[in-house]
């Protein structure tokens, strides 16, 4: 007998004390600073992890029916708890002969930084940015020539830019305007030279900019193509994890970021570094004392910009957030305009808008005030630098040991020197954020969240599939530790129609996802015509699976294109025949543009039933051996339902079919029904058999019939 009296609350990381749970030689051990408890494997039934709102528990269930909370932890421990429980359970149930459990690593072993996402143990601090940079540069070899040319042009333009102040200062004042100068009175010549230098510099920068635009755009184009290709290759599991929408924006944003990197950042960096070095050298050569004076304000300017920027940045973020909130409000109330009007809540919406608008106004003001203080102050600081030069330089000119031309040249370079400083202070931020973008993009490209693939020589080709399907002991969860399906086994004969029923959340769609191999089961096997589905040629398998879903997805394109999606070169009469079988031919041919009607354009409004029949026609033409109907009639009114139902009945003939439907009456054709309840297959049989059993199905059926007869619709 287990003594559990003293184990009122067991805590792992949620409390003050530390407890540990371990497995040692056939025994489960629990320890805290006071005591150690242990249970023999034979006493254990299983360990289970329960997820709560913001904590998890690891509970032990014993063979005598007792249940005990062993550990309580924060959500970050879910993987760890689950992995441990799984191992122990496998051992207890005799599936493995030892408990072999790896600790989940939460922190970077090098710098001890907590991984942002424990599931993807990448430490952003220790991330090898240099090798990333090399990889980013690795995208450029196809454009090596252009890039070489670009760098050359940058060099040239930097050198030429150095001439301008020199011509306008030293040469103009000392050699031309002074009677004793080398080119005295030849004003026209020097003006012409200045004109030519500026023209040359303009031409070069236009040329360089044009090449640059092309190369940067091209590299990002390549990158986006790579990402999209990778995304098509990834299994659904990846999308489930990432949320498709945010994934797309992220990839797009990151790609744009990288485009800036190539287009603006990198050239800017090269040009500015060259200029800074060049100017410093020229200044030092001309007059080193004055040059040092010029450089004195530099650290101060750098310091102030670095101090002020975070403040400004915070304000900009605030403004960004405020205006996106305002946008959300506008979107919300315009999108829901029918509801707003129906409830007569226009006033309330105006108030909501005004409130958000007020906030944007406030923040805008704040930003404006700040910006109009900081920037003038900074340029004032820079002008002080100029004043110092004027003062000291002027004094020396008066004294006669400095020419006026050199002084003018100095002030000319001054602007060119302080300008790029602002950019240079940002360089670290800019560099690391670009590399982070690159990292995220490469993460998608490198992602291995793919379905398991066998060695090429192990792939089995069945040719035409017959459609016998067997499931052996399937278990599956989208997230670790939350199984959606547990231990499901069944056999389905070719051509049989199976209805899958159960309450929402019971795992119906998940089962379909496994049968069609959109996901691989966590454990267990699916056999198609006696072959493990994972070994089947994917292309072949897909070409023989067809689906009709509740939310029909029609692509942008003509009706013809949509029906012929699975068979792009189908002859017109094939497509029409498919449409005829799907009860769609009649309405399609009556449309002004017939089969060439473009979908996805606003003025074409097809009803739910019509869209559904197009998607049925698509499935008919595809001619699959295995057919999935997922709530195919759910969003259709009763009248058209008959047409759709008829079409489906024709479609189902001779194919192995799995149909999900909430409305049980739509499954009357099914040979057998599978009843799922909380992830388990609880009943199998025909409608009549299941009714006799008086089990879960009986309950579902009677509830639904009563509800329907209540509103006057025959079940």
């Amino acid at each position: 007998m287990i003594v559990v009296d003293e184990l009122q609350i067991l805590i792992s990381d949620l409390g003050v004390e530390k407890q540990t749970l371990s497995w040692q030689q056939n025994k489960l051990l629990w320890k805290d600073h006071k005591q150690t408890l242990s249970w023999d494997a034979s006493e254990l039934k299983e360990l289970r992890v329960h997820h709560y709102v913001s904590s998890i528990t690891l509970n032990a269930e014993f063979t005598d029916g007792q249940e005990l909370v062993l550990l309580r932890g924060s959500l970050g421990h879910a993987r760890q708890y689950q992995a441990f429980s799984q191992e122990v359970n496998n051992y207890v149930q005799g599936k493995t002969d030892q408990v072999d459990w790896e600790e989940v690593v939460e922190r970077c072993p090098k710098c001890n930084l907590h991984y942002p996402d424990v599931a993807h143990p990448i430490c952003p601090r220790c991330l090898d940015r240099r090798s990333l940079f090399r990889r980013v540069l690795g995208l450029t070899p196809p454009y090596a020539k252009q890039i070489g040319l670009m760098v050359f042009l940058m060099l040239t333009s930097s050198v030429i830019a150095l001439f301008s102040p020199y011509l306008g200062g030293r040469i103009l004042f000392d050699e031309v305007l002074k009677p004793s100068g080398k080119y005295a009175h030849r004003l026209g010549l020097v003006i012409l030279a200045m004109f030519l230098v500026q023209l040359l510099s303009l031409l070069i920068s236009i040329f360089q900019g044009r090449i640059n635009s092309r190369v940067a755009a091209q590299i990002v184009f390549d990158l986006k193509t790579q990402v999209f290709t990778a995304m098509q290759r990834l299994s659904l599991k990846f999308y489930n994890h990432q949320q498709t929408g945010s994934l797309m924006t992220r990839v797009n944003n990151d790609a744009t970021h990288l485009q800036y990197f190539f287009h603006d950042g990198l050239p800017f960096f090269i040009v500015n570094s060259l200029r800074l070095v060049g100017i410093t050298i020229v200044l030092l050569l001309m007059d080193w004392q004055l040059a040092l004076l010029v450089l004195i304000p530099v650290p101060l300017i750098v310091f102030i910009t670095m101090k002020v920027r975070p403040m400004l940045w915070r304000l900009y973020t605030k403004r960004f957030r405020a205006s996106s909130r305002l946008n959300a409000v506008v979107n919300d109330s315009l999108g829901g305009v029918r509801v707003v009007k129906a409830f007569g809540k226009e006033g309330q919406e105006i108030e909501r808008f005004t409130k958000s608008n007020q906030r944007v106004f406030d923040v805008n003001q704040e930003v404006g005030k700040m910006a109009s203080t900081v920037f003038p102050a900074l340029s004032y600081l820079m002008s002080i630098g100029a004043l110092v030069i004027w003062g000291v330089g002027g004094w020396r000119v008066l004294k006669g040991d400095l020419t006026f031309g050199v002084l003018m040249t100095f002030t000319g370079y001054l602007g060119m020197l302080y300008g790029p400083l602002d950019f240079m202070t940002r360089i670290v931020d800019w560099w690391s954020s670009s590399m982070n973008s690159a990292q995220r993009i490469f993460e998608v490209i490198d992602s291995t969240e793919m379905l398991w693939t066998p060695e090429p020589q192990e792939i089995v080709s069945l040719g035409k599939i017959q459609g016998n399907i067997e499931a052996r002991d399937l278990t599956f969860g989208y997230e670790e530790g939350k199984p959606v399906l547990e231990n499901i086994s069944f056999t389905v004969q070719a051509g049989e129609m199976i209805g899958i029923v159960g309450r929402s959340g019971s795992g119906k769609s998940t089962l379909i996802n496994l049968v069609t191999r959109l996901y691989d089961p966590t454990s267990g096997t699916i056999l198609i015509d006696g072959v493990d589905a994972r070994y089947l040629n994917q292309q072949e398998l897909r070409s023989q699976v067809g689906m009709v879903l509740q939310d029909t997805f029609l692509f942008r394109g003509t009706i013809y294109d949509n029906i012929a999606y699975g068979k792009p070169n189908a002859a017109p009469d094939e497509v029409m025949r498919a449409a005829q079988i799907a009860n769609a031919h009649e309405f399609i041919s009556k449309l002004p543009d017939g089969y060439e009607t473009v979908l996805g354009v606003r003025d074409i409004n097809l009803s739910g039933g019509e869209r559904q029949r197009i998607s049925i026609a698509r499935a008919v033409l595809h001619d699959p051996q295995i057919l999935i109907l997922d709530e195919a009639t759910a969003s259709i009114d009763t009248e058209t339902e008959q047409l759709v139902q008829e079409a489906l009945e024709r479609l189902v003939q001779g194919r192995t079919t799995f149909a999900i439907a909430h409305r049980l009456s739509t499954l009357r054709q099914a040979d057998r029904l599978f009843v799922l309840d909380r992830g388990k297959l609880v009943e199998v049989g025909s409608h009549a058999e299941l009714l006799k059993q008086k089990g879960v199905y009986h309950k579902l059926f009677t509830t639904q019939r009563d509800a329907l007869s209540h509103v006057g619709v025959a079940g």
């Binding site: 009122q8 949620l14 709102v53 509970n59 970050g76 991984y115 996402d117 952003p124 601090r125």
Partner: protein, 162 residues
């Protein structure tokens, strides 16, 4: 349809089991393990508690926790505290935005915590003008009950977030 079903406070007895679970006896019926959910976790943390059979149907609602006997109250409070485990932040020790994530070190009524958050939208939930929930990458929650009561430094950290 059916009306809401409130539990009879005279009959319902909640107890913490020796195993650390919550059981319920309701007249003749005994549930060795029940699940508890708050219908309004922020506004009414001690009212409208939904009592479920494990992974099953609702047994009923508790309208007001205070109406139950004191042992039941204690059992439920403790269980809810675990389920909705939310340390209340009293001070922000450090806040660093780096590499697209934010690294926090905070002091709360439960001790010191270190956690990582990502992206603003999933990170912060403003419950009211002053009250804020911060959600880390794993989904753990931390609450700031009154932003204005934090020290100036902590508030400055939060400025961009709120």
């Amino acid at each position: 349809m059916n009306d809401l079903h409130y539990l009879d406070v005279e009959q319902a007895r909640f107890r913490t089991t020796p195993g650390g679970l919550v059981s319920l006896s309701l007249g003749d019926e005994f549930y060795p393990k029940v699940d508890l959910y708050l219908a309004f976790p922020f506004t009414y943390p001690d009212r409208f508690i939904s009592v479920h059979e494990p992974e099953g149907d609702e047994i009923g609602l508790i309208r007001e926790l205070a109406k139950l006997d004191s042992v039941s109250q204690e059992a439920i409070k403790q269980e809810l505290q675990w389920r909705y485990y939310t340390p209340k932040i009293t001070r922000i020790l450090s806040y660093k935005e780096e590499f697209g994530h934010t690294y926090w070190e905070v002091e709360s009524d439960r001790g010191e915590h270190e956690f990582v958050t990502r992206g603003r939208d999933q990170t912060v939930r403003n419950i009211s003008e002053r009250r804020t929930l911060i959600i880390d990458v794993s989904g753990n929650r931390y609450e700031i009950t009154d932003v204005t009561k934090l020290d100036a430094r902590s508030r400055q950290y939060l400025e961009t977030l709120l």
